[in-house]
Amino acid sequence: MHDPTEPDPDPADATTLRLAPAMQLLEQSGRVLPDRHQVSRVAWMQALIDGLCELSSRDPLTGLANRREFELALASEIDRVARAGEPALMLMIDIDHFKKVNDTYGHPAGDLVLKGVAQALHDCIRPMDTVARFGGEEFAMILPNCPPSFGLTVAERVRTKVQNLSVAVTPGQHVHVTVSLGGAFAPQWVRSSAPLWIERADQQLYRAKAEGRNRACLEQPTVSLVSAEEKGMLFGTSQFQDLE
């Protein structure tokens, strides 16, 4: 316990703080801090804090964003959709028959498969996208500024990437898995909520599972309120008809 008669340690003075547990966590995660003597104390503390933030936002097994980080990204995307009206897609991704992998090859092999799938998902996204381990063998993606007409192509790309994946679980032994995907767009200009949006994507995931797995199902986006014909008349030309 901290002695109440002693002054509080100066947060910028790393020598008076209890840093061992934090250092141990960072070391275990393989993060390298700058040399304490090469940078200022504040810069060093900042690097330490950054390291801890990074650590608390990542899934330790796969290195993807964890559920906490995902929820932050989701909240900011909901804001953006409501304010800027950009279309955004959420994909929920679940490894098919994952229990069978664990039962057949053991849990260490299951972990390798999770890592392999995570890497495959990570390879499919743009820097602005978020891919997270949502829990167990379920993953989630948020794709900002993804037009509804691209949705299925994106989901299919992810599905194919995983299907072509081969995970070496022991020397000479390869495991192949597939994923089912469910997707839902945030309605443009409408403030959605995280639980609702997730639920809609989840419903599509259940549909993909029910329809036989290794497939992508996307919620049909609501038809635009304004037809091309109406737009044509609104602008007295047809040049806007392509702007869906």
């Binding site: 009206g85 309120l225 806007f240």
Partner: protein
């Protein structure tokens, strides 16, 4: 800064029953919802400045931030509310304590970001909003509902509480499309037959009239046939136009009312002309 005084700061009405400014027998605020479809067309700018322009004309005005979850009014007005509608909803404070005096001589009731969780319209939120508006209506001449972007159920509900609805549009194609979609929903789902229009950021005088005309044409051709046979066709009334004016940008950046910071600028004049129409 919390107003415990229920009387708004506006100039007191000298003669409410004066023949020059006839008021309805039952003194109850005229409630007008401001909506736009597309975000970022200046809804909050117009709410704040129109409220100030009305207050200058001696009207008692309350702006209610019905943009549940995206309270921007505090940003525009440089207010730092400690108490918001959220606290009223949760029963932490009395409604009276959440009403703030705004620069410009009107009152505001802010939603606060805590209301994000109310972005879906639950029965509870609906009842609370109804109760609040009922309580406040007798104390003001005008209540402006600054609604959120889009056509969500919260926006539609807020609009349904209003006597009048004002759709704000800019000459941008996306704004016009979304304004048209909003008008369509208001006419078909809420049976609105009179919809007010303000065209913001016009590049030249008369552009507002042209845009109103174009929107009316499309409404007549596509929306009117969707209505039950024998319905009165929806009519768009151009309440005014506000020119594209660098003064607005400056006022917003300095978090001031354009009416106060740069009185007499083109945008301020546009807003004042609208206030004159609402408070002849």
């Amino acid at each position: 800064m919390i107003s415990t005084d229920l009387t708004p700061d506006s100039v007191p009405k000298s003669a409410p029953d004066s023949t020059l400014t006839p008021k309805p027998a039952a003194r109850r605020a005229r409630i007008m919802a401001l909506t736009s479809g597309k975000g970022g067309v200046g809804k909050t700018f117009l709410s704040a400045n129109l409220a100030a322009a009305l207050a200058r004309r001696g009207e008692r005005v309350l702006v209610l931030d019905a943009d549940l979850g995206l309270a921007n009014l505090d940003v525009v007005l440089n207010l730092h509310p400690k108490i918001t509608l959220h606290d009223v909803f949760t029963g932490k404070v009395q409604l009276e304590d959440a009403i703030l005096p705004a620069p410009g001589g009107f009152s505001v009731l802010l939603a606060g970001s805590g209301l994000v969780e109310y972005s879906r319209l639950t029965a509870e939120v609906r009842d609370q909003l109804l109760r609040i508006i009922d309580t406040l209506a007798p104390r003001y001449d005008h209540i402006l509902l600054d609604t959120g972007a889009g056509i969500s159920d919260v926006v539609l509900f807020a609009v349904s509480l209003a006597d009048d609805v004002l759709v704000l549009v800019t000459p941008e194609p996306t704004s016009m499309t979304d304004a048209y979609a909003t008008i369509k929903v208001l006419a078909t789902q809420q049976q609105r037959r009179a919809i007010r229009l303000v065209v913001n950021q016009v590049g030249r005088p008369g552009e507002g009239r042209a845009i109103r005309g174009q929107l009316q044409l499309v409404v007549d051709k596509f929306v009117t046939p969707m209505l039950p046979a024998g319905s009165k066709p929806p009519v768009l009334e151009l309440l005014g136009e506000v020119p594209l004016d660098p003064a607005v940008r400056e006022a917003v950046q300095r978090r001031r009312l354009v009416l106060e910071l740069l009185p007499g600028c083109a945008a301020a004049k546009g807003v004042e002309a609208i206030a004159t129409k609402l408070s002849p």
